[in-house]
């Protein structure tokens, strides 16, 4: 019996046709298993998953920064994960709240409470960082050195509903400067646009969130100077739509949390200058709930 098996094995190993036949049947047997595995994916009923990202930078920049995360999720979930954004913050909020368009939501901290309350989005993680704040920057050679110097000047900000705008307005008010009377607020479509407007001299100063500022090119940052920073807020939350079932939610959460533990995950996160994601309680965002009310 042992000899028979040995001889059969020898013939098999020496015959290319048998080897090819074996591979074919092997693949044929594996295919249903793979298919069953895919169908049994926790997120298969949500295919494709729409990864909605608030338009805090240009659409192209946004794709550059978040495509690696989308691909990472897609590879591990076994279903396509598509990046989407909106023309502006207001439309993004409308799509979030009214259309419930996005399956995974990457939105500004002050938008999350409404997304949660109005559309049922559930927080899964937030960017693993102590917090985030807005900065007011001016060109390095600018005569503006303190907040009072901004009076009578033009200050570029993100759209009115943007966190940076809201934080800066609060900060200016707290400092005794009326943002509607003492300075001229000029809305730009994104953080990049806000930063570049003063860099190119279109405005006198720019207000934007610190993470996009940190992600700006070195050349731009070397020629700018921070004159003020606002209070810190919790970092950007990532939540999921009510359409996403619990098991899928758990899987997405797990995948995001694991990113900072692997070399590949760190490499992906480097595109966003994120150190990783952490589990966060929804209550942490209560303190920014009132910003929109202002």
């Amino acid at each position: 019996m042992h000899i028979f098996i040995s001889r059969t094995g020898q013939i098999f190993l020496n015959n290319f046709r048998y080897q090819l036949l074996f591979i074919f049947f092997g693949l044929a047997l594996c295919q249903p298993i793979i298919s069953i595995a895919k169908e049994n994916s926790n997120c298969s009923d949500a295919s494709p998953i729409i990864f909605g990202i608030i338009p805090f930078v240009s659409a192209e920049q946004l794709v550059i920064q978040f495509s690696p995360i989308a691909l990472y999720l897609s590879d591990h979930l076994g279903i396509p994960v598509r990046i989407e954004t909106a023309p502006d913050f207001v439309e993004f909020a409308r799509r979030t709240h009214e259309d419930k368009r996005y399956d995974i939501l990457f939105t500004a901290p002050h938008f999350y409470p409404q997304a949660s309350s109005r559309a049922g989005y559930r927080l899964i993680v937030s960017v693993d960082s102590p917090g985030m704040w807005a900065v007011i920057v001016v060109p390095r050679q600018s005569p503006i050195h303190k907040l009072d110097d901004l009076k009578g000047k033009r200050l570029a900000t993100v759209p009115p509903a943007g966190l940076a705008t809201l934080l800066v307005r609060k900060y200016l008010n707290d400092a005794g400067i009326d943002p509607d009377e003492d300075i001229t607020i000029i809305s730009t479509p994104s953080h990049d646009a806000s930063l570049l407007s003063s860099y190119y001299g279109v405005t006198d100063a720019s207000a934007l969130m610190q993470p996009p500022y940190a992600a700006a090119s070195q050349q731009v940052r070397d020629n700018m100077r921070i004159i003020a920073r606002t209070d810190s807020t919790p970092h950007i939350p990532i939540s999921v739509s009510p359409r996403i079932n619990d098991s899928c939610k758990s899987e997405i959460t797990k995948l995001l949390l694991e990113m900072s533990t692997t070399q590949k995950g760190k490499e992906i996160l480097s595109h966003n200058s994120f150190s990783g994601f952490k589990q966060t309680k929804p209550e942490e965002y209560d303190k920014v709930r009132d910003l929109l009310a202002r």
Partner: protein
């Protein structure tokens, strides 16, 4: 008409002009065809490049709108572009191939087959597609259709313009070629005309040389040739005239000679008849008297007298025969027809193995002395020659007279002779003599013969009583 066309095709001028015009037409046609091909290629390539450039640029610009799902703004942006005159439609599809924007002459569901080049389009719309990508990530697809109508119009106009220019050029070429061709061939025409004049005998014609080119040299050579031909022709004419004069004189001499000969023969025959005949008659009368007067019928006297009578009778026969040869008296007494019949009958009796038939037609009574003796002598000579040389078994003689001419033919079925053989010379004198006699009467003498085909003589003498 056909002859005129044939002459036209034989004309050097026509062929020269037709050749140049044909070559021009072919070359210009090729040029126009090539230009049309280049125009078509240029236009189609331009449309392809424009279309590709446009769709790439628009797809790049549309990427941000697709990421933001801002179809309203994208549609507004594309609405401005669709007004581009060559653009038929724009369709934008998302990542699921759902049409999100459809502008122009197309339905949102339409997915036209993508074309590779405007030259390969069948439906008059050049359909192209471009993936919309942002940072390398697919965001959808853009389909655009470019109408070929404007391009076709432009090609059509360019082609018409090219054909018009070519036609004008062809017409101008034909005109210029005809003018130049006429100029170039004019002198050849003069040369041809002058050659025609020379052909008709006008040697006074000259062709102007004008220039020292090939035609001028040919004209000069032609003039020299014509001058030389004229000189030689004048010389030949002079020689011919002189020869003709000599011939006339010679014939006159022969005529006189024959007249003298015939007169002499006639005189000699008359003398023989008058003098020798009387003498022989006298001798015979004396011999008979001697025989009759011999006493007692002396046997020796009678024998001698009989011998004298026999000898004198023989002399008479010889003389009579000679007289007949010199001048057949029957010719003078009974005329040509009877003389010929007599001569032929005598000849037939002497040559019973040769059949001879003759046919005389027309009035032969008043042909004149010279014609009578000439015809008589020629028939006499021919019959003698037939006996001597022909080995013939049959001879036919035909003599006819009509209002203008006298026709004589003498044919035998003998061995004949090779008309080209040099040996003909040995009978040449007889033939020459006969020809001279006929030509002396302004007549025509012809003979035909070949080996084993007999000998035929044909004579025609004009009726002229003066002769």
């Amino acid at each position: 008409m056909l002859s005129a066309i044939k002459n036209l095709f034989h004309s050097l001028r026509f062929r020269l002009i037709a050749s140049v015009v044909t070559i021009e037409v072919i070359m210009l046609s090729l040029l126009v065809w090539n230009n049309i091909s280049i125009i078509h290629t240029t236009h189609t390539d331009r449309l392809r490049d424009t279309a590709i450039s446009m769709i790439q640029q628009i797809a790049t610009t549309s990427g941000n709108y697709m990421v933001a799902v801002d179809y309203a703004t994208l549609k507004e942006y594309l609405s401005n572009i669709i007004s581009y005159k060559e653009l038929s439609y724009i369709v934008v599809v998302d990542r699921d191939e759902n049409a999100v924007i459809a502008l122009g002459t197309v339905t949102p569901e339409a997915r036209p087959k993508i074309d590779t080049h405007p030259a390969l389009v069948n439906d008059n719309v050049f359909d192209i597609a471009q993936n919309i990508q942002v940072a390398g990530q697919p965001m959808g697809r853009m389909l655009m259709g470019f109408s070929l109508s404007l391009m076709d119009d432009a090609i059509h106009k360019s082609r018409n313009r090219g054909i018009t220019i070519a036609l004008i050029e062809i017409i101008l070429t034909i005109l210029v070629t005809i003018i130049i061709g006429l100029g170039l061939t004019r002198r050849l025409g003069l040369l041809s005309k002058a050659a025609g004049e020379v052909e008709t005998g006008n040697y006074s014609v000259t062709v102007p040389t004008e220039t020292d080119d090939e035609v001028g040299k040919t004209a000069a050579a032609f003039n020299r040739m014509v001058a030389e031909v004229s000189k030689r022709t004048q010389q030949l004419l002079y020689e011919e005239k002189r020869t003709q004069q000599l011939l006339t004189e010679n014939r006159l001499l022969i005529k006189k000679s024959l007249e003298v000969q015939e007169e002499e023969r006639k005189h000699l025959a008359r003398e023989l008849h008058d003098e020798l005949g009387q003498c022989i008659t006298a001798i015979q009368a004396d011999a008979e008297s001697i025989r009759d007067l011999s006493p007692e019928c002396d046997h020796r006297v009678i024998t001698s007298a009989d011998a004298i009578l026999n000898v004198s009778a023989h002399i008479y026969d010889v003389v009579h025969s000679m007289m007949h040869l010199l001048r057949p008296s029957i010719l003078d007494n009974l005329g040509l027809e009877e003389a010929l019949k007599d001569e032929i009958d005598v000849w037939k009796k002497r040559n019973p193995k040769i059949s001879c038939i003759y046919d005389f037609d027309g009035d032969l009574s008043n042909l004149g002395e010279r014609i009578n003796i000439t015809i008589y002598r020629i028939i006499q000579e021919c019959l003698t020659n037939i006996v001597k040389h022909a080995s013939a078994s049959h001879v036919s003689i035909e003599l006819k007279r009509d209002r203008e001419n006298l026709h004589l033919s003498i044919c035998d079925d003998g061995i004949g002779m090779d008309s080209a053989a040099p040996s003909q010379a040995h009978i040449g004198l007889g033939i020459i003599g006969m020809r001279e006699r006929i030509q002396a009467l302004n007549g025509i003498f012809m003979h035909e013969t070949s080996t084993d085909n007999g000998f035929q003589i044909f004579i025609k003498i004009p009726n002229d009583k003066e002769q």
